[in-house]
């Protein structure tokens, strides 16, 4: 007897079916999944997990599947952060964790750069930007510490199989327009719960044409779209990037959405997209940069997993080459990882940024989460980060606007929110346009 043919499935359904040990899963079903990788950081991880594990008398189900990243409270600034970081370091040693990244940068960038996230995997992260892993064709989403405890003890997690919402982008982005603008546009259109905790999948020739790190920006900000994951079907770009990290990548053809799979599709034209800005205090307050052009800014912040990866630093440097930030503007660059900062240094990108007057901050979550070098007072900030909630960056009085590295760089020069397309020739000449 031949087996029944498997119905057409979305990428999300296929990834979940594999983790649940099933041939096929249907949206709405509640299933139990085996976790391939559990990532957590100094804030969500050891300081919460250690006491709970001790109270339960339980142990980690599989150390080889755990990755710990110290990124939220490093570099330590006060007694409390020293205490939190010490707990993480001591616990990592005690537990002999094989995968620990200490002060290497932000988890969502460092963990893929370590080759830990590969197509087909089912992963959880103790941080809301964990959907970043979806850029590699892995089902990865964020959970809280107590749920992480459940994973760490059992190796399993429940899931309601999501519907898929496909965001299909076609056409070529203009010089000075990038993945961050695509995301702000989608969040502005659908709102912060537009994803309804379903699976978003980014597709279309524009997405296929994006670099791996630009794809990571899309998946990263799926969190701000309110989806559980932000998936991108793996392809040659994914395989090449992962192989460069030293990761072994098997065949990836299976990890795509089948023709005829049931999903909701939205279409976008990349060629007409203007640079986007999101006004305080929500990423959903997004619109064309022209709406806010001319607004004076005090701080230009290029940082975070969302907006300070190598490709983001290159974009900013493309605009800032040979230019200086306005005297009225404090330009801060906090690269997302040491690895990216080293490459940016080798390429001369860091020098361009320093020559433009940038103050280089630690490769950590820093001001983005208001944990580290929090911003103070009622300044107006234009930032490459993901969130501009009231008080998010450390001051309830601050007015935080969100934009791409191109827009933040262009605005740093003029001291006012500015359209980076005015620098299109510069960007083209520097070869960093999308």
């Amino acid at each position: 007897m031949s087996p029944l043919p498997t119905p057409a499935s979305t990428l999300a359904q296929k990834l979940i079916a594999r983790a649940a040990g099933r041939n096929h899963v249907m949206p709405g079903e509640i299933v139990n999944c085996q976790v391939d990788l559990a990532m957590f950081h100094d804030s969500s991880g050891p300081r919460r997990l250690k006491p709970m594990l001790e109270e339960l008398g339980a142990t980690i189900w599989d150390r080889s599947r755990v990755v710990l990243v110290l990124d939220h409270y490093v570099p330590e600034r006060d007694d409390e952060s020293r205490r939190i970081v010490k707990i993480a370091r001591d616990w990592a040693r005690e537990q002999a964790l094989p995968h620990v990244y200490d002060g290497q940068g932000i988890c969502h960038v460092v963990v893929p750069q370590g080759g830990h996230i590969r197509p087909g995997m089912f992963c959880v992260g103790g941080d809301s930007h964990s959907p970043t892993g979806g850029a590699f064709g892995a089902y990865m989403f964020g959970i809280g510490s107590t749920e992480m405890l459940g994973v760490v003890v059992t190796g399993e997690i429940w899931l309601r199989v999501p519907q898929t919402i496909q965001m299909v982008w076609q056409g070529r982005l203009a010089a000075g327009v990038c993945a961050k603008d695509m995301m702000l546009h989608m969040i502005g259109r659908f709102g912060m719960n537009g994803g309804q905790y379903q699976a978003i999948e980014f597709a279309g020739d524009t997405v296929l044409g994006l670099s791996m790190q630009e794809r990571m920006t899309l998946s990263n900000m799926s969190a701000e779209l309110g989806s559980q994951v932000g998936l991108i079907a793996p392809d040659a770009t994914t395989r090449a990037w992962l192989r460069a990290t030293g990761a072994e990548v098997a065949d990836t053809e299976h990890w795509c959405t089948d023709q005829g799979a049931a999903l909701t599709r939205h279409d976008f034209n990349a060629s007409t997209l203007a640079p986007q800005v999101a006004a305080p205090h929500s990423p959903a307050n997004a619109g064309d940069v022209t709406q806010w052009a001319g607004l004076p800014i005090d701080v230009a912040y290029i940082g975070a997993c969302t907006g300070a990866k190598l490709d983001d630093l290159r974009a900013a440097a493309g605009v800032l080459r040979g230019q200086r930030a306005a005297a009225s503007v404090k330009l801060i660059v906090a690269p997302a990882s040491q690895h990216d900062q080293r490459l940016a240094e080798q390429e001369g990108v860091m020098q361009v940024l320093r020559d433009a007057g940038a103050q280089v901050a630690a490769t950590a979550c820093g001001a983005c989460a208001g944990y580290g070098d929090a911003l103070v007072g009622g300044s107006t900030v234009l930032s490459t980060t993901a969130r501009n909630f009231k008080g998010r960056m450390g001051s309830a009085e601050a007015q935080v606007y969100l934009a791409s590295p191109y827009t933040v760089a262009a605005s740093a020069i003029s001291g006012r929110i500015s359209d980076p397309r005015a620098f299109a020739t510069v960007i083209d000449a520097n070869g960093v346009a999308a």
Partner: protein
């Protein structure tokens, strides 16, 4: 009608708007502290008097997208610490939804939450998927799956894990010594 004393209680309503985010519920600046240090600052940027005046058994009624933002479960645990009996809203952020049940906070998804008034008294009937308002009558909520209801009743996932491990340990002790696991 459920017979439990807890559900027969009246619950005073605190009204909040839409898109209440996790930075408002558990501000980043206090995240280095334990829950007893975070809870006094819960919601202070929108209602400074909240944490100081809220009474055990009160409920929050909010607009759509409650709990958007970070994975920090302190944003739900702070409400448990302050004694909130439930949050009632038309929709939640998905990650917050998971966290709330994991720390033992009941979330009721009520499309008509907007009818509920500041300071009014409610009765909750989660098993019947409804809320009873003296002003608006019986409002329907989305059913809470049984396994999540059980999680709230246990006081969260931690307590359930403890029970599960205790049951496993009991089984191990009851088996002959040569087959028992080290722990």
């Amino acid at each position: 009608m459920s017979g439990s004393v807890r559900e027969a209680q009246e619950h005073r309503v605190w009204r909040f708007g839409a898109d209440i985010d996790t930075d408002v519920l558990a501000p980043g600046a206090y995240m280095k502290l334990g829950i007893e240090g975070i809870a006094p600052h819960c919601l202070e940027s929108v209602r400074p008097e909240f944490a100081g005046s809220v009474q055990r058994g009160d409920v929050i009624v909010a607009g759509p997208n409650f709990g958007i933002g970070s994975s920090r479960e302190q944003a739900a645990a702070a409400l448990v610490h302050l004694g909130l009996a439930a949050v009632i809203a038309p929709s939640y952020n998905g990650l917050y939804f998971r966290n709330a049940f994991n720390v033992g906070l009941l979330l009721l998804t009520c499309p008509q939450a907007d009818l509920l008034q500041e300071n009014e008294r409610l009765m909750l009937e989660p098993q019947e998927s409804s809320i009873i308002s003296a002003l608006s009558g019986r409002l329907a909520c989305e059913p809470v799956p049984d396994f999540l209801m059980a999680m709230v009743q246990a006081g969260g996932l931690f307590n359930q894990l403890r029970q599960r491990l205790a049951t496993q340990a009991a089984k191990v002790t009851n088996t002959p010594p040569h087959t028992s696991s080290p722990r």
